[in-house]
Symmetry: C2
Subunit: 417 residues, 2 copies
């Protein structure tokens, strides 16, 4: 029965039952973590053979020494194949694609984009942020004082009518996108949305889309989502320079000890290299070499990611089963069943998300800070909760998901009473 259709008496009875369950969980004194998209120990163990590399040479070059700022050729090839671009359009980066994105925005701030006015010299700079989204994107923008404008996500990707209207404002300089298995909803942009993005006619010449392909090959099921390669479409609209794509092996091999890559047009690569030549002598080429030896080619990456999927799938299915069993048909929550990525996005009755977070915390379950999926930590509907099922062992996750569901029900009953 839908909570919204219950009368006061029914709600009080429901609350009494939920209070009892909640207190039972609380009495267990748990300490469970569903806050961040961290791989589990089992997943990290999958890549230990990568560390057996002993011969760090390539084409006679000693990769242990200084140099090769754009990355070693074999590894550039690997990422070029993965991203569907030419090796000349790849720059290999540090251990985190987050730094690639931060440094790119920092560069636009101090030096502009391919000769444009530095953003620091402009009275106002705005970015479009599909919401809910990734908190660390928002943190970068906030650090540089860039005003964030929410754009609602639809099941197909960002609301493109809104995006097309907003880019007519010359102070709108860019947009952050997670186009495949978006964080946190797990939505993959449809071909039509990718085409409409590629066809944008922004007023600002220095408009740049940060295409954070963090979950490029992070399927949970045998049949993954297909994402149109935006670099195949951009030239049709003379927008070759509009997109900066990044990805990393953080969730393939080791978070914090993986490698990242950036794909962009010739012009953007040259622009970034100008800065990079001042910032570093090279990134970690030994680690690049390890990754090439370990994966071999894109098929090797795919085979490896199937091992990750085998660990992730039961976790996602367990959380989704609890959501269905506990919250289904009650009119108090909606969610999307993702086919990949690291998160499940749960929208609870408006005004209740923060209370869910409090209740979970009280019962020993840490969620991502409620609100973090929106710019400035401000979810205007106080509705969205990001669930990260990857880290806990299955038995802990089982409990955590139940506690989450009871907390959602309790928060909604409280609100209705």
């Amino acid at each position: 029965m839908k909570y919204t259709e219950m009368n006061r008496e029914q709600l009080i009875a429901e609350k009494a039952e939920l209070d009892k369950r909640f207190n039972d969980y609380k009495a267990m004194g748990l300490n469970l973590d569903m806050s961040r998209g961290k791989p589990s120990k089992e997943q990290l163990d999958l890549s230990m053979d990568m560390l057996n590399d002993t011969d760090y040479t390539e084409s006679g070059i000693d990769l242990r020494n200084y140099g090769i700022i754009d990355g070693i050729p074999s590894c550039k090839k690997l990422f070029a194949d993965l991203l569907g671009v030419e090796p000349k359009n790849i720059l290999l980066g540090p251990n985190a694609s987050l730094s690639l994105m931060f440094d790119y925005i920092a560069q636009a701030y101090s030096h502009g984009v391919m000769g444009s006015t530095p953003w620091s010299k402009l009275p106002e700079v705005k970015f479009l942020c599909p919401v809910p989204g990734y908190d660390r994107h928002f943190t970068i923008l906030e650090y540089f004082g860039i005003k964030m404008i929410n754009v609602d996500m639809t099941p197909d990707g960002p609301d493109m009518d809104a995006v097309e209207a907003l880019v007519k404002d010359e102070s709108v300089k860019g947009m952050f996108c997670v186009p495949k298995y978006s964080n946190p909803q797990g939505i993959t942009y449809t071909d039509e949305v990718v085409r409409r993005i590629a066809a944008l006619k922004p007023a600002a010449e220095d408009f740049r889309i940060i295409w954070d392909n963090a979950y490029i090959i992070h399927e949970i099921y045998d049949e993954g989502d297909d994402l149109l390669n935006i670099f195949d479409v951009l030239p049709e609209y003379n927008n070759d320079d509009m997109v900066i794509e990044v990805c990393s092996t953080s969730k393939m091999t080791f978070p914090g000890a993986g490698i990242s890559a950036l794909a962009a047009s010739d012009g953007n690569i040259a622009d970034i290299l100008k800065r990079l030549n001042c910032q570093t002598i090279s990134y970690d080429k030994m680690n690049q070499h390890r990754h090439v030896k370990f994966f071999g080619d894109v098929d090797g990456i795919k085979a490896h990611m199937k091992k990750h999927a085998a660990i992730m799938k039961p976790k996602f299915e367990m959380v989704l089963r609890h959501l269905e069993n506990e919250l289904g048909g009650k009119g108090i929550a909606t969610w999307i069943e993702p086919r990949g990525g690291y998160f499940i996005s749960l929208d609870v009755m408006e005004g209740c998300a923060k209370r869910v977070g409090e209740l979970c915390k009280e019962a020993g379950v840490v969620l991502t800070n409620v609100g973090a999926t929106y710019p400035y930590g401000n979810d205007p509907k106080n509705s969205n909760i990001r669930i990260a099922p990857s880290l806990p062992p299955v038995d802990e996750l089982d409990l955590a998901a139940q506690i989450l569901c009871v907390s959602v029900r309790l928060a909604c009953v409280e609100a209705l009473l």
Copy 2:
């Protein structure tokens, strides 16, 4: 006999002899490189055992996963001991201290220093550059449009009378120093110079010294130079916040695959962490752990650096021997015999350095770009040449040093004729 005391006839005879030697070298079709301070293969081989680490946990924490932005405690301790500061005053960085320095200047540019006006918002920002110095410091400053002011190096360190006068200008915001075995001269700042630096009273509150201790423990002889720990002295002058120190293992283990560290006051560390929390989730903790396991403690680093010294010493001695034999007493060149570091700095007769570079190139020896040791690539006396003896095998270095000496003599004779 001094070239300057030769008459025209003697110079012509000398030139004829040198031309013959030069052409003989040229006919060998050599391709020798003394341009950059790259360790040799033998040196890189010294650290291969570092790669045998297999257990990446510390205090029960899985270092393969996300997190620990400031670095793992054991590795912070190692660098704290090396630099003579508390672990809380250490941040571990990426694979290159160059990035630590670039990112710090970038932060001051966009956000100021501990609450000061961002440097990007000021009409002019200047930095003091002891010369000759390290080209990559100058490149960072030039990238950010910071005006560089030359300060002459003396055998004791930078000319402190000049520095003390220049910091009275409020637009002078900092200074780059390589205080031990300076690049390129190999000069270690005396205690008095370090004290005078620590005691500076700059007009700018946001004045920052980048203390690039790149050769902190890179001795060539058993008896190395002693550098006063500036962090021990700063508090005496209430200047705790004035210095940002960096170092790295690039020339201890693997260039490009080592780790870097930054030491600074509590206030500076907090200031940097604000940015770092937006820029990355952590640096490579697996690599930090490898370094700790490999070195153990500072004594372990010292023992390891003795192995480097054993390889470097004969190379330095060979170059110095050739300089003495070929250029000694001719009144056309001066140099310093460094007791550590990676370079020998050679000052030839004014106006001749570029010609020496051309002649070397013609005979197949690549030197560091002549002029690179000065801001804007402009050596006002066209006199300084940086010799990097580390990379070539001894037999190649033997030839390269001879060719360099002949080229110096030839260039000077040409100039005198």
